[in-house]
Amino acid sequence: MTDTLTHLDRLEAESIHIMREVMADAAKPVMLYSVGKDSAVMLHLARKAFYPSPPPFPLLHVDTTWKFKAMYELRDRMAAESGMELIVYQNPEAKERGINPFDHGPLHTDMWKTEGLKQALDLHGFDVAFGGARRDEEKSRAKERIFSFRTASHGWDPKKQRPELWNLYNARKAKGESIRVFPISNWTELDIWQYIARENIPIVPLYFAAPRPTVERDGLLLMVDDDRFPLLPGETPVERSVRFRTLGCYPLTGAVESGATTLSEVIQEMLLTTTSERQGRIIDKDGGDASMEKKKQEGYF
């Protein structure tokens, strides 16, 4: 006999259950919104979880000022559509020092994202932050809890995480402690795409192939999204048909050459592709094999 609920139905129900459960104990929750496809799905699930009420928390975008222009456009549109308050936070120190991905390497991510996130959470006193991380993304994430506890200084101790049994989440915490909650932990990249297709969820057009000005650097295809991109001697932007599998700061996100202009074609490429999603991101690679885990202990999402 066939199961009444499909795997997407079950994942959806689980994520909604998690979000509602947070509301029982959270004093001031917030949803981290990075404008990528995972954030898009998470936001859509939040709207479903609390309908007909709007989600009872604001969206927080920890901005680096270096995101793709198309991302800023979708961000503002989605905030307006969902009826949620949008908080944009830019680390003032990073801004003042002009921290950028071209001149400052790992410091760029550290100051804008890691430090920026901590500052934003402290500034507003958020005690629970929803994040769109998935367990299939990276080895150390496979063991991350759905409710992940952070000390008052935002540290993550892999030995102090609470066991999660059934669908019972223990969200009690002491003053100053906070929780990162990952409602789409059990979704895979394929699930995300299938769900976007099934639910017609708006995503940044950069996920679809289009002719875009690009340069090839250190084995990555980078898009010249604005005139802040410093061209090296001999570099000229070349128009290529490209798309992105993940989105971050445009100078740190590699494109793939592609002709996939529809969702079906994107999924088709994904299924036939032979490289993993995070490969286009520089962030995983500095510091070797355990770099994501190290970043997490330092407070990176």
Binding site: M1, T2, D3, T4, L5, T6, H7, L8, D9, R10, L11, A13, E14, H17, R20, E21, A24, K48, A49, F50, Y51, P52, S53, P54, R135, D136, K139, S140, A142, K143, P158, R162, P163, E164, L165, W166, N167, L168, N170, R172, K173, A174, N186, T188, D191, Q194, A197, S264, E265, Q268, L271, L272, T273, T275, S276, Q279, D289, A290, E293, K294
Partner: protein, 633 residues
């Protein structure tokens, strides 16, 4: 060669839309793999991911490089490296936590809980098993049924997993010998029936070579199937069985966007619901009917077990988080005393008599556990006498909650029968439990309503009842100051009663010693007596070391808000020891007194006492005046 059970590249390339349509209809199976590193568990999981193309070229390149560097399979790919997670563990070559893996075939999406097999990690396996529909028990064909096989099977059964697969691994190392497989299967069957597992599926495999994983292997012509993946794809998940049970929806959140809409959000724990269905709200017992099933995609005609929905009801009935909306003609019971199996998950042992938070579905209550009736040895399954449960200990206990909870036996309903215990101070999840049945004492011992209530008694005495709870080290000055306070109250015509630690131990608590459990029981009894006296309208003064925060908070919880006044007699240990009025510190230091607070037993100072007395800065007389001022002022 592309295996037919996996992603069919041709269909994806030729007709992606047809492929996607087909994949929308996949079901979901959660399973757990049990076995140690030596059984080839990580290798098997790595193989499942690899065969289902969940590994990409860049990951494969990294895997090949790693295999050569630290792998245990010579020049061949070591799949185990693919699934070992955190850096420290990877170096030690063991997994120490639950990791979740994902793969998909043409028919199903799978979530695999990967848990280690070492004895000290019972906790992790129980965690992984709690959400699993099926367990794959791995056995090394060269070793047969081991102690750990029994342990894994027992735990899987305990957590209510209905489907057991016995994967006899490393068949390549025993020459694919049918006799070996048969012998192991027979031995396992004998053991399984002992613990109540009536049905299991045995499959001879090699995770390393890939035999009988995705398709039947030519190396085992005597094995007629099914191959592991085939079995995982076709096994009945149990969704139909859950839907056939009576309807239950634990309310998570009340949805009130405006005055005209009041919805109750939650995930169906069992059964089905339709608009017009008669339902009962528990624990109040009020009945009404379902008006609408509201979702963002429009109202539904029906919702089934597993779905997250929002219901509106036809009548305005009280209903909030923690309540259960259930089929009116088949509601679950409510009770406040239970028998349950408990799995202890914290480094600090269980403390009988201490109050913990108990979370079951969306209900949170305070619960106290009795000494275990017995502990279960997970290796021999023997029942042992036990006073407590340590980390990874499993025992059967009786517990009581401070108010009734709506529940079902775990065997009937995982959601309404499974619970966690949370330490009230550290907020850590310390145990998982499975309810067996209610002890039914709650229904039989009713509160006797009396006509004269506590307010009337207090009014007669022209005072407000209170409990002044003195706490502090031995020799800190508690009794001295408490005595002065009572004398002063008496002069002011206040009705009071002083309960002194030493005096109570001569009578009411003469059967108690000084172990942690006895100290807790000592305080519990004193708390109950103090509560009765405050009900009588008295100002109660207690002078007990009461070293543990949790118990002081327990007593605070027994009294009406504001009546419990914690008085911390703050005398540093060195000062109390210097005074040593009763000569006890000397004895304790000489080892003649065991469990002496401050010496070999901890004192947990209050964090926010209502009154703090620094005895190094004021006289007992001044302290008593200050306390009276605070009490009456």
């Amino acid at each position: 060669m592309t295996d037919p059970v996996y992603v069919t590249d041709a269909l994806i390339a030729e007709d992606i839309d047809a492929y996607l349509a087909q994949h929308q209809q996949k079901s979901l199976l959660r399973f757990i793999t049990c076995g140690s590193v030596d059984d080839g568990k990580s290798t098997l999981i790595g193989r499942l991911l690899y065969d289902s193309k969940m590994i990409f070229e860049d990951q494969l390149a990294a895997l090949e490089a790693d295999s050569k560097r630290v792998g245990t399979q010579g020049q061949e790919i070591d799949f185990a490296l693919l699934v070992d997670g955190l850096a420290a563990e990877r170096e030690q070559g063991i997994t120490i936590d639950v990791a979740y893996r994902f793969f998909t075939t043409e028919k199903r999406k799978f979530i695999v809980a990967d848990t280690p097999g070492h004895e000290q990690y019972t906790r992790n396996m129980v965690t992984g098993a709690s959400t699993a529909d099926l367990a794959v028990i791995l056995i090394d064909a060269r070793k047969g049924v081991l102690t750990q096989t029994r342990r894994h099977s027992f735990l899987a059964h305990l957590l209510g997993i209905r489907h057991i697969v016995l994967a006899v691994n490393k068949m390549d190392l025993v020459g694919y010998d049918k006799a070996v497989f048969d012998r192991i299967t027979l031995a396992y069957r004998a053991f399984a029936s002992e613990i109540g597992i009536t049905n299991f599926t045995a499959i001879p495999i090699s995770g390393f070579k890939g035999d009988n994983i995705t398709a039947l292997s030519d190396n085992t012509p005597w094995f007629k199937g099914p191959a592991l993946i085939e079995h995982l794809e076709n096994v009945e998940i149990g969704a139909a069985a859950d839907e056939a049970k009576p309807f239950r929806l634990p309310v998570q959140w009340v949805n009130r966007p405006n005055l005209d809409f009041r919805g109750f959000s939650g995930q169906l724990a069992s059964g089905k619901v339709r608009p017009g269905d008669a339902v009962r709200i528990l624990p109040s017992g009020k009945t009404t009917t379902v008006d609408r099933i509201v979702t963002l995609d429009g109202d539904l005609d029906e919702a089934v077990a597993g779905q997250s929905v929002t219901l509106t009801l036809a009548d305005e009935v009280d209903c909030s988080r923690g309540d259960v909306i259930a089929a009116a003609d088949a509601p679950p019971e409510a009770a406040d005393q239970f028998e349950a199996t408990l799995v202890w998950m914290a480094d600090e042992a269980m403390i009988a008599g201490r109050a913990y938070w108990l979370k079951l579905a969306t209900q949170s209550v305070s619960a106290t556990i009795q000494q275990p009736k017995y502990e279960i040895n997970v290796n021999t399954l023997d029942h042992l006498a036990a006073k407590t449960l340590d980390l990874n200990g499993i025992g059967v206990v009786e517990l009581s909650t401070d108010k009734p909870i709506t529940f079902e036996a775990y065997g009937d309903n995982r959601t309404l029968g499974g619970f966690i215990l949370i330490d009230k101070l550290t907020n850590a999840t310390v145990a998982a439990g499975m309810l067996h049945f209610s002890l039914r004492r709650a229904q039989n011992v009713h509160w006797q309503a009396t006509d004269i209530d506590r307010d009337m008694r207090a009014n007669l005495k022209n005072q407000r009842p209170a409990l002044l709870w003195f706490t502090g080290l031995s020799g800190s000055g508690k009794s001295t100051i408490a005595n002065l306070v009572e004398k002063k109250l008496h002069r002011m015509n206040r009705h009071s009663f002083l309960l002194d630690g030493d005096n109570v131990r001569h009578g009411l608590n003469r059967d108690l010693g000084f172990t942690e459990a006895d100290r807790i029981e000592n305080i519990r009894r004193v708390g109950e007596v103090a509560k009765l006296m405050s009900d009588a309208g008295l100002i109660v003064i207690t002078a007990f070391i009461s070293p543990f925060r949790a118990e002081r908070e327990m007593v605070r919880g027994m009294l009406p808000e504001g009546e419990f006044i914690e008085v911390f007699i703050d005398t540093p240990l060195a000062e109390a020891e210097r005074r040593d009025v009763k000569g006890l510190y000397k004895k304790a230091r000489a080892g003649q007194l065991k469990n002496f607070t401050g010496i070999d037993s901890p004192y947990e100072a209050p964090e926010n006492p209502e009154i703090r007395i620094d005895t190094t800065a004021m006289t007992p007389e001044e302290a008593a005046d200050l306390i009276i001022d605070r009490l009456l002022g």
